[in-house]
Symmetry: C2
Subunit: 154 residues, 2 copies
Amino acid sequence: MSEPRWLTPDQSEVWAKYRRVRRELQRAQDQQLQRDSGLSAADYALLAPLSESPDGVLRARELGAEVGWERSRLSHQISRMEKRGLVTREACADDARGSMVRLTEKGREAIEAAAPAHAENVQQLVFDPLTPDEVRIFGDVLDRILGAVERNSR
Amino acid sequence: MSEPRWLTPDQSEVWAKYRRVRRELQRAQDQQLQRDSGLSAADYALLAPLSESPDGVLRARELGAEVGWERSRLSHQISRMEKRGLVTREACADDARGSMVRLTEKGREAIEAAAPAHAENVQQLVFDPLTPDEVRIFGDVLDRILGAVERNSR
DNA sequence: ACCAGGTTGTTGACATGTCACCGACTTCAC
DNA sequence: GTGAAGTCGGTGACATGTCAACAACCTGGT
């Protein structure tokens, strides 16, 4: 093996800043959601695609693909949300292995109550501090990194 | 209350991309670390500042400040790493409330074995796909967001 | 029809993170 | 000095995430 490619000081700084934003932004959003609506970020992540689908029903597989979660994590989270009355499980007509997840009335009320404050929070923390040019380049940067990560995992 | 400030389609796309990068990049790094060195990302996060400090010792408070963790999370993680022989706890001479965390020989070997591959991974996934200009602007963007988050939590 | 191999969702064990609280100690105003 | 208030680290209960294994089912070639 050749000499390791250590990070330069500039790179280290950017990398540390990225990890800090990841941590602090996540924390800020968890707290805002919990405080204003009693929902966790995980709850919100599942409720959002459900509320946008016709009849508030999605096959578990589709829901998992929407949020990019593994099946196990999804199943556990659905169980917890089912216990709190936010969603229900139903059999899948097409495929007897499958399972459908349905938004309850309570679940719909919860997401609709939470959405405006959540959107305002994202605006304030992410988009208000950026110029339109920066938003565009930020999107490009994310695309490039995502491409590298996907190439990496294949 | 006035009309909620919903995200525009462009904003939604950038925001979804950010969450995806957060998730996939984290997953890629967890797996690389675990596979190549048997360390978790949490292990690495604590071992790195410890290995850079003189004698491999830091007061728990300092270590917590370095990584930006709460005291409870830090304490639990140190307990787990102590059990695996990566660090030890010692009394703090200056302040009887305090507790010092010391890297063991095994801990130092682990971080030194893990560091080169981890650096290479960050280079490949984050910096290789970006131009120097993009890296600079990415840093600015992170600064702006961090500023907004900090203003928000005070 | 059959069955080998892939898919789907669930479960239990375990690792990790959060929260509320405590006990010991330090700091500071008086 | 002394007491109130703050700081520090740790703990237990619980929420969340990961992993390996499983049962049930679908799909394709034969």
